[in-house]
Symmetry: C2
Subunit: 375 residues, 2 copies
């Protein structure tokens, strides 16, 4: 089994687990910074080590376009290419069907994208997507999914689920075939992705269809896109009610601290999002007392650290006034310092969550965190 649970919280469904990959083991729950093009924006792999980020996610489709999976394979795979010791996860690119600039159309066979650099049309089938991810050599791969938009009708979402299931089966079959040649402990894990928007009945249906393929984990797709918090949590609960406790659950695209903790309390194990880095670049800084807008005039001569309760190297060395000045000037160093801090904050948040689950006190911690954060 690629996943085992080692601690369960007393009053919530939160759990601490261990996911075993070809690169090594990683404790869940964890948050993955987004390294779309093999680099987290302004953050090096050495920074990821010092902040304790033990997994990151990159994008299959984007890397297929540049520099190409063949180059990365030649360089020893994505982890070696970027000299990253943690777990490399890849997203399939299904999410890019949300990107009008590169998505053209899809049919049962696959998806047409337009290469934004060359203008060339490319056709990505589930099989092709698996081949690319195997070449990239990530430790955890995602099935090519068909993600409906929030604005889609229930009927349209039903069709997206049908396609997602069809593709998931083809992904699994092809991925298994290609991996048989390899040693067991060198296998890339493969996760299915459930769809269904905010409709619990559709989410459950999607999960039921995916379950028969026996994936190593099940991702929750098409959320964190603007639905209400209650809708999002109900969809997570629907997913979990079908998938059960023995498989890791990955809520794709969620990066808000409260959203993450609420999902953890429902048994979600993995997270990724641009939220912390994108917010940082725009001057929104995470603190244990909630977000602050560092560009506000009131921080102009603030000699304190970004967060008084943070021990990251940014908080230990730089003032709010200095980071504010650098962000105002759009200096690369400012983007980096703010990004580092926000990512560090999320890593500590998940570490704290794990410790509280082990103590059986996660529910209390969540309540206390929310009170301070939303104050």
């Amino acid at each position: 089994m690629a996943f085992k649970i080692i601690h369960k919280d007393k009053k919530t469904n939160a759990r601490v687990g261990v996911l075993s990959t070809k690169k090594g083991e990683i404790e869940t729950p964890f948050f993955m910074p987004v390294a779309t093009k093999t680099s987290v924006k302004h953050i090096s792999s050495l920074d990821l080590e010092t902040m304790g980020a033990n997994a990151i996610i990159s994008n299959t489709l984007v890397l297929h376009l540049r520099p190409g999976e063949k180059l990365i394979k030649k360089m020893g795979g994505i982890g070696k290419f970027m000299n990253y010791d943690g777990i490399n996860v890849t997203d399939s690119g299904g999410f890019q069907m949300y990107s009008p600039s590169i998505y053209i159309s899809s049919n049962d066979k696959g998806v047409w994208f337009r290469n934004p650099m060359s203008g060339e049309k490319i056709f990505i089938t589930p099989e092709k997507d698996m081949d690319i991810q195997l070449d990239l050599g990530s430790d955890v791969a995602m099935c090519l999914d068909c993600m409906p938009l929030l604005s889609n009708t229930k009927e349209e979402i039903r069709k997206a689920i049908d396609k997602t299931t069809l593709w998931a089966g083809r992904c699994k079959e092809h991925h298994d075939d290609k991996q048989n040649k390899k040693l067991k402990d060198k296998k890339q894990l493969l996760f299915g992705i459930s769809q269904g928007g905010v409709y619990p009945d559709l989410r459950k249906r999607s999960c039921e269809e995916l379950l028969k393929f026996d994936f190593d984990g099940y991702s929750i797709g098409g959320l964190a896109l603007g639905e209400t918090h209650i809708q999002e949590m109900k969809a997570i609960e629907a997913h979990k009610s079908v998938i059960g406790e023995d498989k890791p659950a990955y809520l794709m695209g969620a990066g808000h601290p409260v959203e993450i903790l609420e999902a953890v309390s429902r048994g979600v194990d993995m997270f990724d999002s641009r939220y912390p880095t994108q917010n940082a670049r725009r001057g929104t800084i995470f603190t244990w007392d909630g977000k602050i807008k560092i560009l506000n005039k009131k921080y102009e001569s603030d000699k304190g650290p970004l967060d008084k309760d943070c021990d990251c190297k940014v908080c230990k060395n730089y003032s709010r006034a200095y980071v504010r000045h650098l962000l105002r000037e759009q200096e690369g160093t400012g983007l980096r310092l703010a990004s580092y801090h926000n990512l560090y904050f999320l890593q500590r948040l998940l570490e704290k969550a794990k410790a509280e689950i082990e103590r059986g006190e996660f529910g209390k911690f969540l309540k206390g965190f929310k009170k301070r954060w939303m104050n």
Copy 2:
């Protein structure tokens, strides 16, 4: 005395010295990364420490515009503001008279600039420039100078020298007045700047006029702007022939490795330039065997370090192929890794130069370096 020579090379005029500032001592010759807005582009003050960059230069006029010298003073001065332990040098902004986007005009009293953010006109007098630099609290300040363009006639350059001398006297007087209130060992050093373009007679005249003010050091201005190598070296020699050996000489804006070493061999002690960082961002990487254009296709799958003879953290951790990919994608991390390496290279070059001067073998080292670099 703010400057003393501790080693002299045997066959060239190169020397190792110690410059004493209110922040502490620093060995010469040294190269200063450019931190115009209190940040070297993509490089933090912690990076500057790990690469051994013990001095940096910022820009008085740019900081006057944003965030303003009053804020920086309130934050404890430029060194504290950016949490930098090394020596902070400030340039006066005279060089910005080369910038058509902000320079309007100058007269004997001072210079009119336009604030590019607000459109507002501002008048900078030599006295005002000193006040700003004292507020910034840099360890070494520069006089406001009037820099002629390379294309100016000899007569125009002569007029620029007259104005530079006039302003230098006013800078010195005002700076002395303002500093009398302070303790002797807390004094900001003040350097005069010679002009004269590529004409040795004019350069000498400028130096003779400046000498009477007894500055702590003498900068060589208006070079590294496109003149030939021989013209540049002759101008340096003219400057040194008048100023003599007991004062530090600072060649402003020079950052090419060979140019630096040739100037060192003529008794120049300080350097600064955007050259290493700007080149890095454009994919030109310094190695002990000369520059390489990392964006060239031939480095696409090169697993080697940027420079096989470099022990910087970039060379120890990342491949040419990876840095190339990140630079192609204009990822902040790529700009940073390449900038770090090039700056590290120059720091090691100057350390090596010091060691060779101490051994009395600088001339031989220079010859050997040039042979490899230009190969």
